[in-house]
């Protein structure tokens, strides 16, 4: 996905500027999305940033202000702990998605033949159902007296395994929720790769494994970077998986933010948490942009 976007940008940059009438048309066409962004994205982000300097008023409603108290409150080690836990969950999710997603993308792209599109469609179909519904389904399947544990008991394989309410369950939920966003960009980059390069690698007496790491992996680096970005960013801010599959000690930063807005009634503190999370994501985004620039230069 990201590869296509980059290429389109490069192509467009090469093109000459259009005539003034064409430009005006584009400006008109851009007005609705610009307005949309303005109202629903930029103004809401601005409110969050402003509110993060506010406090809770006498009636329990949030009040705007100019104090750093919320950010000072965030220096409590308990918040750092939650940030680190979220980062560990998100990194694990990304790594597992990459390890599981790459072979899937590889098999479909290089060995899918005429079934390629059908296979991709099968991969995407479960994502038509809401993430929330799928997580609920998991919690029913994996319950102590749920279907999977009953099967295990009936077949005598195990006396029952506690799947639910563990860190593993949260990460598994996150992987399931986002793996398709890893598979698709890698699939796109494998699709576009010249398979003659693999032949060449073999001709140069590389083993299949050596060829894979020396040729295929570098050629699909942009796809992997795109997948890592698309999986890591949502995973870091997720709260659904921890809420439905997690236990008492699997709170993520998304749960904390949700709690401040909907339970703790401390929207200013929740806003400060959101701002810190956005800054962390921004740093990761900059890292991604620089990495993709490097990949493009090497081409």
């Amino acid at each position: 996905m990201s590869l296509q976007v980059e290429d389109a940008l490069v192509d467009l940059a090469k093109e000459k500027r259009r005539s003034p009438t064409r430009t005006r048309l584009w400006n008109v066409l851009l007005a609705p999305p610009a307005l949309w962004m303005l109202v629903f994205f930029i103004s809401s982000v601005t409110i969050v940033v402003l509110l993060s300097f506010g406090h809770v008023g006498d009636t329990g409603k949030p009040v705007f202000g100019f104090s750093l108290d919320n950010y000072k409150a965030l220096s409590d080690p308990v918040y750092l702990k939650v940030f680190i836990r979220s980062a560990v969950f998100a990194i694990a999710t990304t790594a597992i998605s990459l390890v599981l997603g790459y072979p899937v993308a590889y098999t479909i792209a290089l060995h899918g033949g005429k079934y390629k599109n059908a296979l991709i469609a099968f991969l995407v179909i479960p994502f038509f159902a809401s993430y929330l519904i799928r997580m609920y389904a998991w919690s029913t399947l994996l319950a102590d007296e749920g279907l999977i544990n009953q099967l295990l008991r009936d077949t005598g394989l195990s006396s029952g395994i506690r799947f639910l309410n563990t860190p593993g369950a949260v990460i598994a939920g996150l992987v399931y929720g986002s793996i398709v966003f890893m598979v698709l960009p890698i699939y796109a980059s494998l699709e576009r790769m010249d398979t003659a390069l693999i032949e060449a690698g073999k001709d140069l007496y590389h083993s299949p494994l050596q060829t894979f790491f020396a040729v295929t992996v570098p050629a699909t680096r942009a796809g992997m970077l795109g997948g890592v970005l698309l999986v890591f960013l949502p995973a870091l801010g997720d709260f659904v998986s921890a809420q439905l599959l997690g236990g008492p000690s699997t709170y993520m930063i998304g749960n904390l933010i949700q709690q401040q807005f909907f339970e703790g009634q401390n929207q200013p503190l929740g806003s400060a948490l959101t701002v810190v999370l956005m800054l962390a994501l921004l740093i990761f985004m900059v890292f991604y942009l620089r990495a993709t620039q490097r990949v493009n230069r090497e081409k």
Partner: protein
């Protein structure tokens, strides 16, 4: 993808958008600053004429999930020819946040202290009781709820149900229960214990275990409560208000639980009801109530009044007690409940004890913030 074709480059676009966005945000901030004076809005609502009980649209219903007999809802729909559009919450704080954010509902079922809070914040309407055909079922027969602590004269609310908070456990898994809040630290059930995901309930439970006031906001008390709740985490499976499903799925062996949910579970979901026990810990148990309200911004207050009236009708009271497992606070409710729960003495709810030391009360903002901070830190730990 079309951006490079623009005469305006991306940076200009972003800068322009940000400027206008910031202006919009500042306007919003000024707006909310203006509306945050509660006296103005509550005066306005009390001066307005009170709603009349007549159909003025579908019923936008906001309550706990499955907290009304479907037959009662179906009867209302067919009698008045309206639809019930239902949304659910899983905790009072989340409910309040939604209403404060301006979401419009016709009827809402807050806990007692939230009724007081919403009345003070001008979020709910004064009710004209002459609009209720069944008002005699609820008021005027010597009921405590003619003038309850959270809403003088029940001007803004109609009382609904009452419950205790205790501990449900499985006899086949747990043989060492002591009839104390310590049972939520039981070694036999380690990893199978659930605590209710409600700040008042969790803090109240720890306070009772420590012999403190459930409503304490004293910093020393709160520090002790925080430590004792964190000490509990290794024993817990999760924090959740979904007690019925957690017991039904087999995940819970011990559940910090509401009395009515326990009775409901025993009657409808338990594979072997004889395995389950509901205990009221010896250190004391929270006893609380809730009441229906109509928000100030309700789109159909007329239908909402008809709904409140519908729930007071003796037939519907009987159906709901049978379905929910909670005593309802009408003339006939407590006796019907006593019959329904007669097999479980620990489920008895004395509706005359609504003024008691374990009722959750409101706090001033600083104390409330201190209690919220404890709950946040416990969950984050």
């Amino acid at each position: 993808m079309t951006e490079p074709r623009l005469s305006m480059n991306r940076r200009d676009f972003l800068r322009g958008s940000f400027g206008v966005g910031a202006a919009a945000a500042l306007a919003a901030c000024g707006f909310s600053g203006g509306s945050s004076t509660p006296s103005a809005s509550s005066n306005a609502s009390s001066a307005a004429p009170m709603a009349q009980a007549k159909v003025d649209g579908d019923l936008i219903y906001y309550s706990w999930a499955d907290y009304c007999d479907p037959a009662v809802k179906a009867g209302f729909k067919s009698k008045y020819g309206v639809n019930i559009v239902e949304t659910n919450y899983d905790g009072y704080a989340g409910m309040l946040a939604k209403i404060q954010a301006g979401n419009a509902y016709d009827v809402v079922l807050p806990g007692a202290r939230y009724v007081e809070l919403m009345r003070k914040q001008g979020l709910i309407q004064k009710l004209d009781k002459s609009q209720f055909k069944n008002a005699d079922q609820l008021f005027g027969w010597g009921s405590y709820f003619d003038n309850p602590w959270y809403d003088p004269n029940s001007d803004y609310s109609t009382p609904f149900s009452m419950w205790t908070t205790g501990i449900a456990y499985r006899k086949d898994k747990v043989t060492t229960a002591q009839g104390s809040w310590n049972d939520l630290w039981n070694e036999q059930a380690k990893g199978h214990i659930y605590v209710l995901d409600e700040d008042d309930e969790a803090i109240g439970m720890a306070a009772l275990k420590l012999g403190l006031d459930v409503n304490t906001a004293n910093p020393d008390d709160l520090a002790k409560i925080k430590d004792v709740l964190i000490s509990q985490k290794p024993y817990l499976r999760a924090y959740s208000t979904d007690d019925i499903n957690n017991m039904a799925s087999g995940n819970a062996w011990i559940h910090h639980s509401w009395s009515g949910d326990f009775l409901n579970f025993i009657k409808t979901q338990a594979t072997d009801p004889t395995q389950w026990v509901y205990e009221l810990p010896k250190e004391g148990a929270p006893l609380n109530s809730d009441a229906w309200v109509i928000p100030t911004n309700a789109p159909h207050p007329g239908t909402a009044l008809l709904w409140l009236d519908w729930l007071m009708q003796p037939d519907n009271v009987a159906k709901n007690i049978d379905y929910l497992g909670y005593p309802l606070l009408t003339k006939t409710g407590p006796d019907l409940y006593a019959k329904a729960a007669s097999a479980y003495p620990s489920l008895a709810v004395d509706v005359s004890k609504v003024v008691n030391p374990t009722v959750y009360k409101n706090h001033d903002p600083a104390d409330q913030a201190a209690r919220n901070a404890v709950w946040t830190e416990v969950k984050a730990a």
